[in-house]
Amino acid sequence: MIGKVPTGIDGFDDMVKGGFLEKRHILLTGGPGTGKTTFAMQFLYNGAKTFKEKGLYISLEETPEKLLSNLKQSLKWDLDKHIKDGSLVIATVDKFDWSNLSDILQSYITRHGVKRVVIDPLTIMRMNTKDEFEFRRNLIGLLAFLENLDCTVLITAELPTVTREATTYSLEEFIVDGVVVLYNLPIKNERRFALEVLKMRGVNHSKSMYPFKITDKGIVVYPEEII
């Protein structure tokens, strides 16, 4: 029986029948400003705070200081406590390099007991790889390697389009175990955040799109409403 890894995000775990399947890799994708970083960090923060699982956030774009500063502006989380006690680690890879990234992942997972990992974002990995073939080969190798280690991985990726109808699919969406898409949709005269689970292998997940808000406690999904 495969275990579940709850995100602890209100309303979301019900969509995926209790959480992500453990040791799987999930792609979290969406347009700019749709809450990917908040969702990803909330997955780790709840992991550390509620489920006592160590988390590692690898930020390939923002420095850890800037990432933390931005999160602290809008969220009432005690991130410092978990960073201090080592249950939450934020790391970066200067001048992205697949070996550097893999070294850090391998060390934290095998030597420090990290159980939840976020890699943010995939775009940087693609931009810093010589060609598409090498990117695909390295990504498949990385995901296969991570599958052998005892951790659940969330990778963020930027979507170029922001409407459900116009979503284009890329290789990574086919090779990962799950895909969660975040939107910021124009509805009447305003924009509303929404999300859907596009794919989650092994889970009879919800197929609907639900609205969510980003509050000072983090993302809250409203599964009683459907968009």
Partner: protein, 263 residues
């Protein structure tokens, strides 16, 4: 089929020869390890009081649920050891059982008559033969892990500076005939880090000297060793070691640059 291996610690030294009379155990010639075989379950008992149980083809969950014949066999063996006069509590020994961490389960000091070095051709085969059946990614990860394990053991707390650590790395590589090396320290040119960079230059790499240029560096074990040593010494994981020159890149020397990444 996987072979599952568990280790149990009796916690006191044993006179293995005295136990050799157990009806289902044998003392292999020339060693001080007692071997008990129960069908597909093998139990080795060491004079130190450690026991290892090996079993093929069962799942980890089976072992944990205690349904495995291994658990029953171990209790049986422990009861007999107790009858031979050794005072122990079989329940406590079983409770202490844990899955073997292979990377720390193979101390080299067990061999008493053989030299500690192995041939270069064996090392090269172990490094490169896996590439014929596994992905390059996996092989690199495996070699980095092995190198890091060694590197971390070098940073044992007795070394007081990064220079001394670097000297210890150079000495280890030479003593184990892995390469001839030297190091120098410099300021991080990017000025992103308050730590110095350490640059190791190596010739006659056991892993790569003489290999054809394949467009990528190949001394993953040594790269992992340097990284592990500095990560342990500095108590930081944001340590980057890049192999900037290698036979695999078409050079005739290897160079490794250790940088501490900004946090």
């Amino acid at each position: 089929m996987d072979t599952l291996a568990y280790t149990y610690d009796i916690g006191k030294p044993l006179n293995i020869k005295k136990l050799a009379g157990l009806k289902y155990a044998e003392l292999p010639q020339g060693t001080e390890v007692l071997k008990a075989q129960f069908g597909e379950v093998t139990i080795l008992v060491f004079p130190s009081g450690e026991m290892r149980a090996f079993s093929k083809g069962k799942t980890f969950e089976d072992l944990e649920r205690g349904l495995m014949p291994a658990s029953v066999r171990i209790i049986q063996l422990l009861e007999d050891i107790k009858k031979s006069g050794v005072k122990l509590d079989p329940t406590k020994v079983i409770e202490s059982g844990k899955r073997i961490q292979w990377s720390s389960a193979a101390p080299a000091g067990v061999r008493k008559t053989m030299e500690s070095t192995v041939g270069l051709d064996i090392l090269r085969q172990m490094t490169y033969a896996p590439l014929d059946i596994m992905s390059e990614f996996q092989v690199e990860r495996m070699l980095v892990q092995a190198g890091e394990n060694i590197g971390r053991s070098l940073a044992d707390g007795s070394l007081k500076s990064a220079d001394k650590l670097s000297e210890a790395i150079v000495a280890y590589l030479k003593a184990n005939k892995l390469c001839v090396s030297s190091f120098k320290k410099r300021k991080d040119p990017s000025k992103n880090s308050s730590y110095d960079q350490f640059v190791f230059t190596m010739s006659e790499s056991a892993f790569a000297a003489g290999i054809p240029p394949v467009g990528k560096p190949m001394c993953h074990f040594i790269r992992g060793l340097i990284r592990g040593a500095f990560a342990k010494f500095l108590e930081l994981e944001n340590v980057s070691v890049k192999e900037t020159q290698c036979w695999g890149l078409g050079d005739t020397e290897c160079e490794f640059v250790m940088t501490v990444l900004p946090k």
